[in-house]
């Protein structure tokens, strides 16, 4: 075995480690130590450590919606192209949009809430401008998480009312 062969086999051994290490069920210092040599490769997205519906299947459908709070205190949902809004599921076609909508309610999406909400507000104002009804004034813009808890096995299939959590809001009452 010459030097080239040795290098090739060492590269294979390294690649094998890259495949196995991210999946090892170890934690803490041992995990950090094992992952250290692979850091740049893992950051580049070359370590597979995901698994669909693991360790548990979500017990609820979780979607992120945007809406405005009106002067009378009511909340009006703003439908957004390609995203589910609870009134209708299936608008988010394909895993890209489903993943996007799911991820929107996670901590990592905090940065995206203001932009999403402003886009929605722009759409709402455009729609309002096209109607003949008296103008309405929104008092706040809100990003919410709606959770539709799945029925337990054997329970009736009725669509439940969502559990609502406000993720982000901005007052619109002052210009």
């Amino acid at each position: 075995m010459d030097t080239t062969d040795l290098i090739a086999n060492a590269a294979i051994l390294f690649a094998l480690g890259l495949m196995i290490v991210p999946s090892l069920p170890v934690h803490g210092a041992l995990r950090r130590a094992l992952r250290a040599p692979y850091g740049p490769f893992l950051r580049a997205g070359l370590g597979y450590r995901w698994s669909m519906y693991s360790p548990d299947v979500p017990l609820a459908t979780q979607i992120t919606v945007v809406g405005v709070r009106l002067e009378d205190g009511s909340f009006e949902l703003i439908p957004l192209d390609g995203l589910d809004d609870g009134a209708e599921f299936g608008k988010a076609r394909g895993l890209r949009l489903v993943s996007f909508q799911w991820a929107l309610s996670q901590e990592k999406a905090t940065f995206a809430w203001p932009g999403l909400a402003n886009t929605a507000l722009r759409r709402w104002r455009e729609r309002e401008a096209r109607t003949d009804a008296p103008p309405r004034t929104p008092t706040a813009l809100e990003v919410r998480e709606h959770r539709y808890v799945s029925p337990l096995p054997g329970e009736a299939e009725d669509r439940p009312e969502p559990e609502v959590r406000t993720l982000w809001s901005r007052s619109l009452s002052t210009p």
């Binding site: 360790p55 890209r96 932009g115």
Partner: protein, 293 residues
């Protein structure tokens, strides 16, 4: 031990299945690029649901000012998507100059990663797997057959050592088996109710199960069968006697999920990757029977 290692990684092998995977991977990249192109206005453009300014100020854009500049214009975003699709086309067709396909493979990975960096909320596990397989594909002789390069060459396809092909197989096997180990930490998988909840995820659901199959008993069977197929399949694909039953079971699992759930390209990525386990000689006979070789 060393003998086994050398034989496993370095024995010459028929490369027809690898070539089929290259074609499928190229088609998947093209499909993904088309999907990005159709969703660009919503997910990638400067005025998308994640506006450029917000993204630019976030930690996701901090690493590279080049990326910030690239994604500031609609035209350059579209150019990146088009380049990604072009890489897929190069892979699928297998263009002749020796380094073109490996470069296209690496570039497809890099562009996919770049697009996900612009909007990290659209990523799914299929992206990661396809990316790893594309990088490994670049280190294989995958244009020996079923490529423009092969049709222009007078030499018949050769049996060559392809250690990166073995690594791709190992990655898949590790993925299936460790996925079960993760799942066994979850209560729904242990109790046999996981599939009951999977088919009730409203955002993912494409169609309802027939009532006869949507019972607690059938979900118990389906949940444990999923675990058995993933774990058993991930191991049994290595043995000639059990390879085809294992591949059929895994393919059946992915096709069932594709039928019931909105999964973008995830199931097609998995199904394409399973091709890597089919011995090249068998694949060549099958393609010959179809008149494609």
């Amino acid at each position: 031990m060393i003998e086994a290692w050398l034989s496993f990684f370095w024995s010459p092998t028929d490369l027809t299945s690898l070539a089929v995977f290259r074609v499928l991977a190229g088609c998947l990249v093209v499909a993904d690029a088309l999907s990005y192109a159709s969703l660009r206005r919503l997910l990638l453009d400067p005025a998308s649901y994640v506006p450029h300014d917000d993204w630019s100020a976030s930690q996701h854009a901090n690493r590279s000012s080049l990326l910030r500049a690239l994604f500031a214009r609609r035209g350059s975003t579209m150019a990146l998507v088009a380049a990604y699709g072009l890489c897929g086309l190069v892979l699928a067709v297998g263009f002749p100059p020796p380094l073109v396909v490996p470069l296209a493979s690496i570039l497809a990975f890099a562009l996919s990663r770049t697009l996900r960096q612009r909007n990290p909320l659209v990523a799914h596990s299929g992206d990661i797997l396809l990316g790893i397989l594309l990088v490994l594909l670049a280190f294989t002789p995958c244009t020996e057959t079923l490529s423009l390069a092969a049709t222009r060459s007078a030499a018949p396809p050769q049996r060559l050592a392809a250690p990166a092909l073995r690594l791709m197989q190992v990655q898949l096997s590790v993925l299936y088996t460790t996925s079960v180990l993760y799942k066994l930490r979850g209560a729904t998988w242990r109790k046999g109710t996981a599939t009951h909840y999977v088919v009730r995820l409203l955002g993912h659901r494409k169609r309802r199960l027939p009532a006869a199959l949507d019972t607690p008993a059938s979900h118990r069977v389906a949940t444990y069968a999923t675990l058995a197929v993933e774990f058993g399949g991930g191991l049994l694909v290595w043995f000639p006697a059990t390879r085809y039953p294992a591949l059929l079971a895994l393919a059946g699992l992915h096709l069932t999920l594709q039928l019931l759930m909105r999964m973008h390209l995830f199931q097609w990525i998995m199904l394409s990757a399973l091709v890597l386990f089919i011995p090249g000689e068998d694949m060549a006979r099958f393609l010959d029977w179809l008149g494609l070789l």
